[in-house]
Amino acid sequence: MNINYIEITNFRQFKEKMRIDFSCFDSNKITIVFGESATGKTTLIEAFKWILYGKSDYNNEYNHDVASKIGENGKTAIVGEIGFDYNNNSYSVKREKHFVKRNNKLKQDSSFDNYIFEIRITNRNGINKMYAKDDAKRIIEKVMHPSLFEYFFLEGEKLNKYGQDMSQGKNGQTSPFSRAVKGLLGIESINTSIKDLNVVRDKFMSDFVTMSNDEKTVAYQNSKRAFKAQNEKKLEIMNKAKKEEEAYKGLVKEKEAEIEQNASAEEKQKRLNDVNERISKLKILINNERDEIFQRFRNDGYKYLMKKLVKQSRDTFDDENMMYKGIPGIDADAIDFIFEHKRCICGAEIKENSDEWNTLIALRKNIPPESISSEITKYKERLSSKEREGELFYKSYISKITQYENHINDLNKEKVKKENLDDELRNTKEVSNIKKRRDEYQKSADKNKQQVNRLYFEIENNKREIEKYDRLIQSFEASNKEARKYKKYSDYCSYLIDKITSLRTVKEEEIKKTLSSEINNMFKKFYDESVNFTLDESYNIHIVDKNNNEIKTFASGGQNVAIALAFISAIVKVNAEKVSENDLLNEKLNSELYPLVMDAPTSNFDPTGLKNFCDNIPDVTNQIILFVNNKDGKLLKDSLTGIIGKEYTIQKKGTYESVIKEENYE
């Protein structure tokens, strides 16, 4: 790559259109631009960056003087153009940024589509092709990737700092140098691919975890096993409970039989109770009857006892002589009436002293009250009455005694019954106790039955759970199979990461070896020091003496720049080396030999260092553009005599304006 020219208008202090044509000949490959401090040397490096990538270190690239002088709604533009040759084509890269003043402030002019950025490529046959915006951007990035820019367009102060950092071990994995080296030599791409592969692997793994039901399957299998184990245990308990239930049922049956067996006793007991009750009643009754018998006898017993006497008396009075001779039914009063009226009751007259009359007088003597026979008759009647009373008493008394005796007999019968029942009951058990035991056994049997039922339902529920888990496990089979594919992808990514990582290690070692060798060669061209440089994993340079002891306080300012230059030139050379077709990791960002554009590279050198710089820098690459301070000018020019192709001077015209003038070198 060779840079042919740069043109800038209204870029910072370069108010007017300025152009620098760079020397492109291998024989005089150097272009020097001189300038005092703050005239715009660094601005020119920034101008390269702005034209190529649209970025710079400045907040505003426009010229302050131009910006302040345009009125409201006034317009202005920054314009830049770079011409270079690359890969046998000529490139013209043009960038414009348009502004308009609104409210006394410059704003990007929206009437332009952001900015104009275009590239015209002319091939060796003179055919032009234009590319704009994103296409142009892609082309520029292909020609010189932005990550390379700062190592081929070096600012002096940064150069010194890079050297310091490198020699003091401050590079670190993320330092610009470290990144540059890795970027240039393809290591950064390897790292990027490893990072990407890691991300992809993690995503695959995450998908695997999300999709996979392996864990769930295991969990379900465990749950299933747990339910099975539970069921086995429950079944065992249930069987035991069943046995117990059967045992208790047996006991209940035994007790039932016993109860049945003893049920007659219960009836006997009832009968005994009845007998006892009857005995009690009979005893009371017999007592009462006995009392009554005695009482009756006391009261009326004589009636019976005098019966014989009465009979004898009556028999006595039944004698013929004792017979009644009167007219039955006629008493003395009736005779006396006939005597008084002298007329029979039939009406016939009865005369005194007649026979009838005398008969009546005789009759009168035999009839009561004066008649004994009448009295006997009455007496006999009383005897008969007494006799009847005696008989009645006797009958009634005998009947009572018979009743009493019957009751005594009844009592005795009941007593016999009682004795028999007592004997029978003496050998029987209390049914209520048996019933109590039976109920207890029944309760236990019921309890066991309940337990059996409960366990049965629990076992059935568990069986359903087991079936559910079986179905789930079965349904997971398919998804697990799919998920395992993602595990394979993840594993394959891991495999690739390992492979690329190991390739990177080998590659990096090779690169470091080559770089160390180049750095040593180049540095020794600047300073004839008996030291060696080695590179650590962060591309820090370690300086060691001939005894391999590290030197910590080695570098001066010039030496720092020399270290940085040695490093950069080593990178340029390694980068420009043609890669092997068989190299797996052969994707260097670019193998083009780039020009070196350096701002104040010599400001830290002593005269020896400066001379060495001048002697050796031309060997680094095929085009070198130097922006140097006037104070180094003469020595530099003297040292580079013969290889300077172009020379320019930046002159300051005012606070906000510098101009570039080409020196007539010839």
Binding site: H145, P146, S193, V199, K488, E587, L589
Partner: protein, 52 residues
């Protein structure tokens, strides 16, 4: 034999990923987010194609 063949496939995959990453790095310098996402999508695709 099988192992050698797989080795070749692996290397081809690495190269494929590799070249793509580099190309995309270059093409998408100003939009790294997009770039890394795209790169990862491609890697995903390649890996899936490679693992059958």
């Amino acid at each position: 034999m099988e192992q050698n063949r797989n080795e070749i496939i692996d290397i081809e995959i690495i190269k494929k990923i590799w070249n793509k990453i580099n190309t995309m790095e270059k093409e998408n310098y100003y939009s790294n987010e997009f770039s890394s996402k795209k790169r990862q999508e491609l890697i995903t695709k390649y890996v899936k194609e490679s693992v059958k």
